[in-house]
């Protein structure tokens, strides 16, 4: 067979335009959008830092609100927020990771029940947070809490807004985030790792516990980071379930109510008798909330970076 049997003459290709108008327009628009976002963040942060900086004093951080919230500090709110987030994470991570491990490693992926659970998890993520707040009030306080009180023959101890119910409501709100990120993290663990473990005579549970979860840990932490960021700032879910307008004491038990920074900001902004006197405190509180969230995130991110390094063999 000779090569010359097929046609080697082509029509000339269209000439490429030297000035790529579409490309340049798109690049410019995309760049502007990115710039706009950076600018927004800079304006918000700048405004808060400039106006809030002078209010953040030691007295502000360590004291309680005084004189109808026009004076004093926000320590009870910082304390309450930290406690709330801590309790939320303690409830959220084991439960969310457990659900994700079940869905990813044990459940029959083709069964309708598995798909129904996944569908429910995804829809849970779309439920407005105020609905979670009402759910928490109805389920945790009026059903669960009041039920415990009745069963134990107590006065109203559990059947009222409390730190524990607020934390559980927030945990419910963030459950989809943790489940989805954990599932994604488990999916990225190579099949070879599962096989290696099982081939050595490890049980399925041992494989999950000693191979899969350690390797999925950075992903699980990502979920926890997202949950912390969101949990520390959400007001609606705790509005009916435990946050207090003002408390003369710090919460000492999970059944106590608590003050919280996000809710305190709402109170300062809308419920103050003298809005001008409150404004510096308001800015200061916002700055503290942002700093606290940032600090919690930074801790988790550092931890995650260390774990990634160790999993990649650099340690």
């Amino acid at each position: 067979m000779s090569i010359s049997t097929f046609d080697t003459t082509f029509k000339p290709l269209p000439k490429q335009r030297r000035f790529d108008l579409q490309g340049r327009t798109f690049t410019t628009l995309a760049g502007l959008a990115a710039l706009f976002i950076a600018l927004m963040v800079a304006v918000i942060m700048g405004n808060i830092i400039l106006n809030g900086w002078s209010s953040v004093t030691w007295e502000f951080l360590s004291g309680a609100p005084r004189e109808g919230m026009t004076r004093g500090g926000i320590f009870p709110a910082i304390y309450g927020t930290a406690l709330l987030v801590l309790l939320m994470v303690m409830a959220l991570v084991p439960f969310g990771v457990g659900a994700a491990v079940y869905l990813q490693e044990y459940a029959d992926q083709t069964a309708w029940s598995t798909r129904a659970v996944r569908f429910a998890v995804n829809n849970l993520a779309g439920v407005p947070s105020i609905v979670f707040g009402l759910f928490g009030l109805g389920f945790f306080i009026q059903f669960l809490g009041a039920g415990i009180d009745r069963a134990l023959g107590l006065d109203v101890v559990y059947g009222k807004p409390a730190l524990i119910w607020a934390a559980l409501t927030l945990a419910m709100l963030n459950l989809p985030v943790v489940i989805v990120t954990t599932e994604e993290a488990l999916k990225t663990v190579p099949r070879e790792m599962r096989e290696a473990s099982l081939a050595l005579g490890a049980t399925r549970w041992q494989t999950v516990r000693h191979v899969l979860i350690p390797q999925a840990m950075p992903g699980i932490l990502t979920g926890a980071i997202l949950a912390i960021s969101r949990g520390a700032g959400e007001v609606a879910p705790i509005l009916f379930t435990g946050a207090a307008y003002f408390l003369p004491f710090l919460p000492s038990s999970p059944t106590d109510q608590f003050m919280e920074l996000g809710y305190h900001i709402f109170v300062l902004a809308t419920q103050s008798p003298d809005i001008d006197a409150t404004r510096p405190l308001l800015y200061g509180t916002v700055l503290v909330l942002l700093a606290l969230t940032f600090l919690l995130n930074l801790t988790a991110i550092t931890l995650r970076a260390r774990m990634r390094a160790s999993l990649a063999g650099r340690s």
């Binding site: 070879e192 790792m193 290696a196 099982l198 081939a199 050595l200 005579g201 990649a312 063999g313 340690s315």
Partner: protein, 283 residues
């Protein structure tokens, strides 16, 4: 030399495995009693795909058996049936019998976890855990619940020695296994497998991801290990099969075409198909 803590077979009990003149597979199965691994009319299905079509083979103890054949011939499927690693695949179905030391591994009530401890496996790509060298070797022992520190470390050392890796890693047992070279990682995976004292070691193309030097070291190791273990190696590489194995099985399209002494198979194969394959006419 390798210090022996315990192994399923004492070296003194070894018999010459391969008879002078290798008989046909059927008579071989009978002659080799008790064979360490065996299948009888074994069928394997991936959903509708009939991957193994009535394979009967009897692998004698304390020897190296190579399984060769073109891609998709079912050699890995057969290998993974001996420790039931195929169980992980949805839609997999079996018929017939697979035996390890006379025990039917697909029988109801088989302890698959215990089976996999007894029948170790080394994979195509080295797959150490992202843990330290020590933790990798100790993994299986930890899973068995062995807690005693000094016993753990002596078993880890012993396994690494048997896998000819001890001298290279003894000063950095706490370093990540991922810092080792590919060949070292594969020998670590072999050490990890040896630590739980298997009777059988299945190797699924153990050197195909390694360079020639590392391949040679793994091959040497396989030859050394066969005095204590029954080894089955799936390989694409016919020279490798010729170098390391005592007997060779040739598979094609889910069937066992020929199973014979390696020397004989590569010099005077019985089946025309085997001859065509090993002379490179196809595959």
């Amino acid at each position: 030399m390798v210090e022996k803590v315990s192994s399923p077979e004492s070296p003194t009990l070894q018999k010459p495995i391969v008879p002078e003149r290798a008989p046909s597979p059927e008579t071989m199965a009978a002659a080799m009693q008790p064979s360490r691994l065996a299948t009888q009319d074994f069928h394997f299905y991936y959903g509708a795909l009939h991957a193994l079509k009535g394979v009967s083979i009897a692998v004698p103890a304390n020897s190296v058996t190579a399984i060769i054949g073109p891609s998709g011939c079912g050699k890995s499927t057969l290998l993974r049936s001996f420790n039931r690693m195929n169980d992980l695949i949805p839609g997999a179905r079996v018929e017939g019998r697979v035996e390890v030391s006379g025990q039917d591994v697909y029988a109801h009530g088989t302890d698959v976890v215990e089976l996999r401890r007894r029948v170790g496996m080394v994979f195509q790509r080295p797959n150490p855990f992202p843990k330290s060298i020590y933790e990798n070797v100790a993994f299986g022992l930890n899973m068995l619940g062995l807690k005693d520190r000094s016993e753990l470390s002596s078993r880890v050392e012993d396994s690494l020695r048997r896998a000819a890796l001890w001298d290279e890693v003894k000063d950095r047992l706490d370093r990540s296994a991922l810092q080792l070279s590919g060949g070292q990682q594969q020998r670590l995976c072999i050490a990890r497998c040896l630590a739980v004292e298997p009777e059988v070691i299945l190797m699924d193309e153990p050197a195909s991801a390694l360079d020639p030097t590392a391949t040679a070291r793994v091959e040497e190791l396989v030859i050394e290990l066969k005095s204590h273990y029954t080894i089955v190696v799936v390989t694409h590489n016919m020279q490798q099969a010729a170098r390391i194995s005592n007997q060779t099985a040739f598979m094609l399209q889910g069937e066992l075409v020929e199973f014979d002494e390696t020397r004989r198979m590569f010099t005077s194969p019985r089946a025309k198909l085997t001859e065509d394959y090993i002379t490179g006419r196809f595959g």
